[in-house]
Structure formats: C-alpha cells, structure tokens
C-alpha cells in the first residue's frame, strides 16, 4: 500500500460530497446547453444545405396566387397543388439570367380507394431537363426510370422493389432517396412526366377518384440561374416578363427561416454564455472557499515536503476531475434529451432536422468537453496558484 496525490484528491472530493456534486452539476448544465444548442444549430445548417443542394433549383416559378402555398411546400413540405399553363416554361427560359429550366407537376395522393398512402406529393418531372432527380439517377441507378417505376423520398414508407398504387396505377419503387431533411423531397414520390400524364388520363377509368388536370398544365418551373446573376435578380426579371406568376427564391425561403431560427438559437446561446460565466465565477468562489478551508492542510503538506507544483496540481486535479465529470454528464444528458425529443424539436422549430455528420458530431462533443474541462481549470486556477505560493508557515498559521 502506498499513498498518492490521486488518492488524496479523491478523498477530498468525497469529503464535501454535495459541494463536489454542485460543481459538477453546474459544469454539466453549461456543457449540456452549449452542446445541445450548437448541435441543433449545426443540424439546421446541415439540413438546409442538403435540402437546397438536392432541390438543385435557385428559383421556383409558380402561379401568382400559389406563392404562399409554394413557400409552405418548400419550407415545411406542405402538400398543395396548383397549376398553370405549360407555356410559361418557354417564357421563363427566355427570361434574363436564366440558365436552365425544368417543369414539374404536383399531384396530391388521396385516401379512400385511390392510393396506398395518402398525403404524399406525387411529382412528375421531365427527365430531359430535370436537375432535381436526374443527378441522383445517374449516380445511383445509372439508367432511366421505366414508365411504371417511381422513386420515393426518404420518409415514404416503401422500400426499393415494393409496389405502390396511385389512382388505379401500380408502380414499382426503383429507389429510395437519401434523407435531405426537406420534407418537400423526403415526403414526395417522383415519376417521369409521361407516367404522371398517363396516370392522370387513366384515372378516369381506373380510379374511383379521377384526376381532372388538363394535358397542358404544369405546377411549377424550376430554374437554375446563370451564376453571373443573383437568384433574386433573376426572379424579378421573370416576374416582370411574365404575367400571372411569382418567383420563389429557394435560398430566400430557406434563409428566412434560418434567420429567425438563428436569432432564437443565438439568444439561447447568449443565455448559456452568461450561464457559463456565472458557473465560472461560482466555481471560482467555491474553490477559493475550499482552498481557504484547507489552508492549514496545504501548509502541512508543504511542510512535509510537497512542492508548490504538487499542491497546485492537487487542487487542479480536483477541479479537472469535477469538470470532466460534469462535462461528460452534461453532454450525455444533452444528447439523450436531443434524441428523445427530436420529433418535438423538429415540429416546434418547423425545420427539417438532421443529426450532424459523425465527424462534426464528434467535433461538437470534443469542443463541449474541452470547454467544460476548461471551465473547472480556469475557475480553480487562481485559488490554486495563490494557495500553493503561500509560505508553509503562513499557510499553517492562517488555519489557526
């Protein structure tokens, strides 16, 4: 048996158990909040990036009375339908700043003897011009979709190879898209425009719920803007050139949420920074108290041959152990809360919501842990340094 600095530190932490717990807890609260908020912010950022990348379109041109519906569709994935003449597409293509265009038609899947799953958005896209789905097809499927094949978004409850019925037509799922966090895509079913048209016309005979959408109608024109122009600028050119349409800039829709959300998250972050400073001060005060209480003991250790650095190390060891423990507990608690309330967070923030990439996640954890660790270290630094520098005799006398 022998006796070590670690052993002495451990006993000291147990001595005032509740005080130790209080210190660890305050670090846990700070680390947990900071970790949770940054994780949510990171998730928002990530899902927006992925969503816009997957959509591939800078501007979405829709009928002017459908602007709000279109925004809601892009943002929250609301399933809504609206139609305009397909001739709009040619006008858009000719508009200033437009690099590429592609039409889409939206059909809502309904309940009751028509479709396997209700409230899905069926999107007909034009394989010749599309830039939303085609990149994925090229990369993953390496062929075009057959007329009875569909692709499903990540949230659609069907797997590759399974069949789905819409308006009397049976389709085979050829692939499932990865999660984008954007319900506009995740909750949609994609089919070539040809198939959509066929489904519409055959619904009159095959389905009890016929669709009444004329051949020359489309729902939206997706636009890729010439890099030399701002999307917002191109959008204005389009609205000026064509009557009866509105241009929804996807970046704007998404960044407006981001702005609102970030204002909210930032204020929470501010609160947690204030919390952090308070924890820092509190732990500093507590450690001053601890060191004062133990001044005579510290003097004794010094008299028996403990070096200044040994005494300093002993106190820092205690602080480090408590803050590391607090950090781990806080981050674990934050993680558990984030995970168990992920649906609530998703719903209440009205955002597509994803976990960050594993590497980013690991970084967030590491940074939060380091911060927690530093909290204890920084708070104990001054008391530890002061008490370890005191003359042994002075320290012993102070305890009298």
């Amino acid at each position: 048996m022998h006796i070590s600095i670690f052993g002495i530190a451990k006993r000291n932490l147990k001595r005032k158990f509740f005080r130790s717990v209080a210190i660890a807890l305050s670090v846990a609260v700070v680390a947990g909040t900071l970790f949770s908020i940054t994780t949510v912010m990171e998730s928002v950022e990530l899902s927006i990036m992925r969503g816009t990348a997957r959509l591939g379109a800078d501007v979405m041109v829709v009928p002017s009375d459908a602007e709000l519906k279109a925004r809601a569709a892009l943002l929250a994935g609301d399933v809504a339908t609206f139609y305009m003449p397909s001739g709009v597409m040619d006008s858009v293509r000719r508009s200033k700043g437009v690099a590429a265009v592609s039409p889409q038609i939206f059909i809502e899947s309904a309940t009751f003897d028509c479709c396997d799953i209700a409230d899905l958005r069926l999107i007909g896209f034009d394989p010749a011009t599309d830039f939303t789905i085609t990149p994925w097809l090229k990369e993953r499927l390496n062929r075009e979709l057959a007329s009875n094949e569909i692709l499903v978004g990540h949230e659609v409850a069907r797997e590759t190879g399974q069949r789905m019925k819409f308006y009397g037509n049976s389709f085979t799922v050829a692939g499932k898209l990865e999660s984008t966090g954007m319900r506009f895509i995740d909750n949609s079913v994609f089919m070539p425009m040809q198939s959509a048209r066929r489904m519409i016309s055959e619904s009159a005979t095959k389905s009890k719920k016929p669709l009444a959408i004329a051949e020359d109608r489309i729902s939206a024109v997706l636009v890729q803007v010439d890099p030399a122009y701002q999307p917002a600028q191109a959008a204005i050119y389009i609205e000026n050139a064509i009557k009866g349409v509105k241009s929804v800039v996807s970046e704007e829709v998404i960044s407006s949420v981001r702005k609102q959300l970030f204002v909210l998250l930032k204020s929470i972050l501010m609160v947690s920074v204030v919390l952090w400073i308070m924890a820092l001060l509190m732990i500093g005060v507590i450690f001053s108290m601890i060191v004062n209480e133990r001044q005579r003991e510290i003097g004794l250790l010094r008299a028996m041959g403990a070096r200044r650095n040994t005494v300093f190390g002993l106190i820092m060891l205690e602080a480090a152990a408590l803050s590391a423990l607090g950090g781990v507990v806080g981050i674990a608690a934050g993680g558990v809360l984030l995970f168990s309330f992920k649906n609530l967070i998703r719903a209440s923030l009205h955002i597509p919501y994803l976990w960050p990439e594993p590497s980013r996640f690991a970084l967030l954890i590491a940074v939060s842990l380091a911060l927690a660790f530093l909290t204890g270290i920084a708070a104990a630094l001054y008391p530890a340094a002061r008490s370890s520098r005191m003359e042994p005799f002075e320290a012993i006398r102070k305890g009298d």
Partner: protein, 221 residues
C-alpha cells in the same frame, strides 16, 4: 550540523513592527537533543519554523549540514524537508480524510521511497501505542491519540532532524513520559537530532541542553 546566525523574523501589525524572533544565533550538533522553553508568545514556534525552512527570516541564515536553506530553490527546499527534516506541530495536524496509517505515510507521497512504507507506518503506530487504531480516521481518535499519530508520522522518513512543538501538550503525564522516552531512544539509537519546545520543566531538565526564549531573544539556561 545546524548553524543559525543572527536570524530575525518580524511581523507587521498595522504600523507597528513586532520582532517575533530577534537576532537569534544557535549552533546545534548532530545527534543533539535539546529543549526550548519560554512563555507563550515568546517566539518558540516561529523559531522552529525558521529552523525547518517553513518561513524565510528577514535577516540571518539557517545552514543545515552545509546547506543554506534560503540559497536553494523552493523545490529543493521542499525535497530537503521531505528527506531530512520532520515536524510535530503544536496543533492538530492530521488530514481528516486519511486514516491514522495514511496520515503517518503522508510524507512519502511527496518523494520516492523504497521498502514497505505501510509496514513501517504500522510499526511506528505500534511504538506510540496505537497499533490497534491504524485504520481509524482522526475523528475516531481522541486528541491525545491524534497527537501520537502525528508523533509517529515524524519518523516515517527517517529524518535527521525532528522539530517538535509542544509535542506532549495534550497527553497525560504517563504518555508524555513515554513519548519523551521514545525521543531519547530515536536519539541514541539512530542519532536523530531533536529540538523540542516544551512547557514541562521536568522533562526539559532531562534533555542535555536547554535554551529559553524571552520576547524573541534567546538565552541558554
């Protein structure tokens, strides 16, 4: 082996300067056993702390075995205390979170030690009559027992010098005599140098050399 030359230690209380130890010179040979007597407040504890390198004198030098305590670094001084000096303090000096045995072993936490430290600590506790209390915490020991643990601790590092400040203050007469006997034994068998502050004139008389402190000034008696 201990050469003290003109050490003075002053305290400042407000505007007044108070000399707790006033120009004390003392030469103590190896293996001596001496006692310091004096009224309370005469500077005995301060003097012992100066000899043990626990506080820096305002002037004068303390040289032990050729080493001027205040010419070496603080780390070297710590190591010096750890290896060559040990203390019995005037007040309760046990760490409350450590058992009697661990308290005795405590000095060995600050250096490298060969041999079975725990066995040695146990043996020392036996010598002070606490062989059956080695796993008791200080709160489970009487004041006198705590004092004896502190005395056992003073020998764990095989010190050359033991500085004992009223080491038997709270012991009954019989135990007090036993402890003094223990000191004499370590002194004659191992050549440990003792400087003992005591109020017990009888026991002081039994030491080979006595000095008296009066208002910080030293006089042989």
């Amino acid at each position: 082996m201990i050469e003290i030359k003109g050490i003075t230690k002053t305290y400042r209380a407000g505007s007044e300067i108070f000399k707790a130890v006033d120009n004390v010179s003392l030469s103590i040979g190896k293996g001596e056993l001496m006692s310091i007597v004096g009224h309370s407040g005469s500077g005995k504890t301060t003097l012992l702390s100066l000899i043990g390198g626990l506080t820096r004198p305002d002037s004068g030098t303390v040289v032990i075995g050729g080493t001027d305590l205040w010419s070496i670094s603080d780390d070297e001084l710590s190591a010096f205390r750890n290896r060559r000096i040990n203390f019995v303090f005037q007040f309760a000096s046990l760490i409350p979170t450590l058992t009697a045995l661990e308290n005795v072993m405590l000095p060995t936490a600050f250096g490298k030690w060969d041999g079975n430290v725990a066995a040695k600590a146990e043996e020392l506790l036996g010598m002070v009559g606490l062989g059956d209390k080695i796993n008791n915490y200080p709160s489970q020991l009487s004041g006198g027992q705590q004092r004896r643990v502190a005395i056992a601790r003073a020998f764990i590092n095989d010190p050359e010098i033991v500085l004992a400040d009223e080491p038997t203050g709270d012991l009954d007469e019989e135990t007090e005599a036993d402890i003094f006997q223990l000191f004499h034994r370590f002194n004659s068998e191992k050549g440990v140098t003792f400087i003992i502050v005591t109020h017990n004139k009888e026991l002081a008389a039994k030491t080979r050399r006595q000095v008296r402190m009066v208002h910080g000034v030293m006089g042989e008696s």
